[in-house]
Amino acid sequence: MPGVPEAFSVARAAALGGAGWLQQRRLAAAEALQDAELPSPSEEEWRYSPVGKLRLETFAPASPEPANGPGGPLNRAALPAAASDLLGSLRRRLGGLSALVVTCDGKLAATEVSASAEAEGLAVRPLGEAPEPAGAPGGVGSPPADVFGLMNDAFCSAPALLEVPAGARLADPVAVVNIVTMPSLAAFPRLAVVVGDGAEAQVVNAVVSGGDEAFAAPVTEIEVGPSARLQFLNLQELGPCAIGIDRTTATVAAQGHLAVGFAAVGGAYARCRADCTLTGRGGTGDMSAMYFGDGEQVLDFRTFQNHLAPDTTSNLLFVGAVEDRARSIYSGLIRVGAEARGTDAQQTNRILKLSEEVWADSVPNLEIENNDVRCAHASSVGPIDEDHRFYLESRGVPPDVAERLIVEGFFGEVRGRLPVQSVAAGFDEMVRAKIGPNR
């Protein structure tokens, strides 16, 4: 198996600078990388994935020059034109915000915080300026899930920290937008979100790229404090030639509530690994995803619902459609630890196959070490139900319209479950646009 290309060197990681503790972690990760191998589909974790097609040698991590700006208000004029366009269309869908963070090609381009969010104590800053957290960069994403996580640890050039202090209530969502326009850049967006005791917040984290080849491996760490509530929506809107390998990992403390959602339409190959670990009694982690793959796209989801404390609840609903020659992979694991009596865990994956040539696989798994639990998983993979189609047609609905109604209806439940509904609705339009052309 191939190793990591030369450009991903210890020297490159060292040059990124930042606070001492962050530098040390970057170096340790970069050193570990030198002996690491790229994954292959023969490993269970990467089964069915086209990860072997990633030509990592054509990409290199961000260089430290020019240095990250200090943040501050967005200056659209300073962005490359392509980035400005991508941001513009997304910005309209985001609506009113508590804060906006923009990174472009691995550099911090803007941090804006509204006056009301500032009054609530919301802090948005480069991670390197924060005191040293326990564990790898943000404290939660440790150990890295795979070699791409290790790369992110080593080469995240503009890691950001979003802190919602205890008791704060943010009226509007916070948006973090990562734009990739450089075709040769390996982008490693990094975000840590910390929601304090009893605080409430909504966060949208987007990764977007243009039509060129691109490679992005974002890592997001989420820490939901006791009795805190966080809605977190991940928007994957990569371009058609891009490869995205995302990891989102969260911990939820006692009585905390996390709703994390993934909305994915882009990428030639887009993988999303999502971990939600319930560490405190009575914590809840809801996970949802809505995705639509067409053309030759491969959309790949791996989920982990980890119950480590008693009376914890997790409810997962991943719903996707594939058309043309697209492929989709779902594998999910519910893990219930010995201490987690009274766990209630649900996992549902539904895939609609919209052509004969698509391929979809759905693999649910359970690993339970306590008897006093309720766990259920369900998965379905199949084409449009002929009876549904006939029923609509028998009322006079033309076949193309009937199919569109059925596909939109298929997404109905998950659409309502996605977090940050004000933004998720805009994503819905993107899915409609994909459903539309042939119908």
Binding site: E386, D387, H388, F390, Y391, L392, E393, S394, R395, G396, V397, P398, P399, V401, A402, L405, I406, E408, G409, F410, F411, G412, E413
Partner: protein, 257 residues
């Protein structure tokens, strides 16, 4: 005016011959009842007319206003004015009734504006005793058998077809609901709706006045008459008509010799 003409219809399902030459002629405003025991081919007749997949027509024809129904796809038949009220209405998750009706009527639908359609739907729902809460649900999902049947009648009322095939519309409906549905259908007939009501029991005909009654046995209409035929059926049951046709007798005799 709208007339449904079925002539010499021969059809099979999954390779098995079900209809052996069915003739029915429904003039505008007329109610025809097709009655028969289980398995006689009543529902097959409904499905063949609506164009459901899985049925083959090997002879005969079906015309609506002179148009060859059998040459049309299911939605074209519906747009030509045919409506099928299903015996077991399909649950369609994620698609609500208003959305369905809007799509069925199309941009040039009989009821112009979308707000207009919503108002028509609510008014018709009230007349049929369909709870307003059901209108926001996905079509037929989590509805009781009776509620589904009422929703079929509701769609009929809004879509205003020329000819309606009602497949066991009475099953699942309580007395009051059945009466409301029958009243609404009768009212539509005064505006020219032709009805082909398929039913197992004479119960429906107690509330929906039939002009003609046909008795179907083993894929054939063996008797046709006025409403009195239903009364006779009520007294004697289907057995009286359920005799093998002469040709079948010959075959059976031939085999036994």
């Amino acid at each position: 005016m709208s007339e449904l003409i079925v002539e010499g219809l021969v059809a099979d399902a999954a390779g098995e011959a079900i209809l052996h030459g069915v003739d029915v002629r429904v003039a505008p405003g007329e109610v025809h009842a097709v009655m028969g025991p289980n398995g006689c081919g009543k529902s097959t007749l409904a499905h063949v007319l609506a164009g459901r997949r899985g049925y083959g027509v090997t002879a005969g024809r079906a015309l609506l206003d002179g148009r060859d129904l059998l040459a049309l796809s299911p939605y074209e038949r519906a747009q030509a004015g045919l409506f099928l009220a299903m015996q077991y209405p399909t649950e369609v998750p994620g698609v609500n009734l208003l959305e369905l009706l809007e799509a069925a009527l199309g941009p040039a639908g009989g009821v112009a504006a979308a707000d207009g359609l919503g108002a028509v739907l609510r008014a018709e729902a009230e007349r049929l005793g369909v709870a307003a809460a059901l209108l926001d649900r996905a079509v037929n999902v989590d509805l009781s058998g009776g509620e589904k049947k009422k929703c079929e009648a509701l769609q009929l009322a809004v879509l205003r077809p020329r000819v309606a095939v009602l497949d066991e519309i009475d099953s699942g409906l309580d007395v009051d609901a059945l009466r409301a549905v029958a009243r609404r259908i009768e009212e539509a007939t005064t505006e020219g709706l032709g009805v082909l009501a398929i039913t197992h029991y004479t119960r429906l005909l107690g509330v929906l006045q039939a002009d003609r009654v046909h008795i179907m046995i083993r894929g054939r209409i063996v008797a046709s008459g006025g409403p009195e035929l239903a009364d006779e059926l009520e007294r004697t049951g289907y057995e009286r008509w359920d005799r093998p046709a002469p040709a079948e007798v010959a075959v059976k005799l031939g085999r036994s010799f």
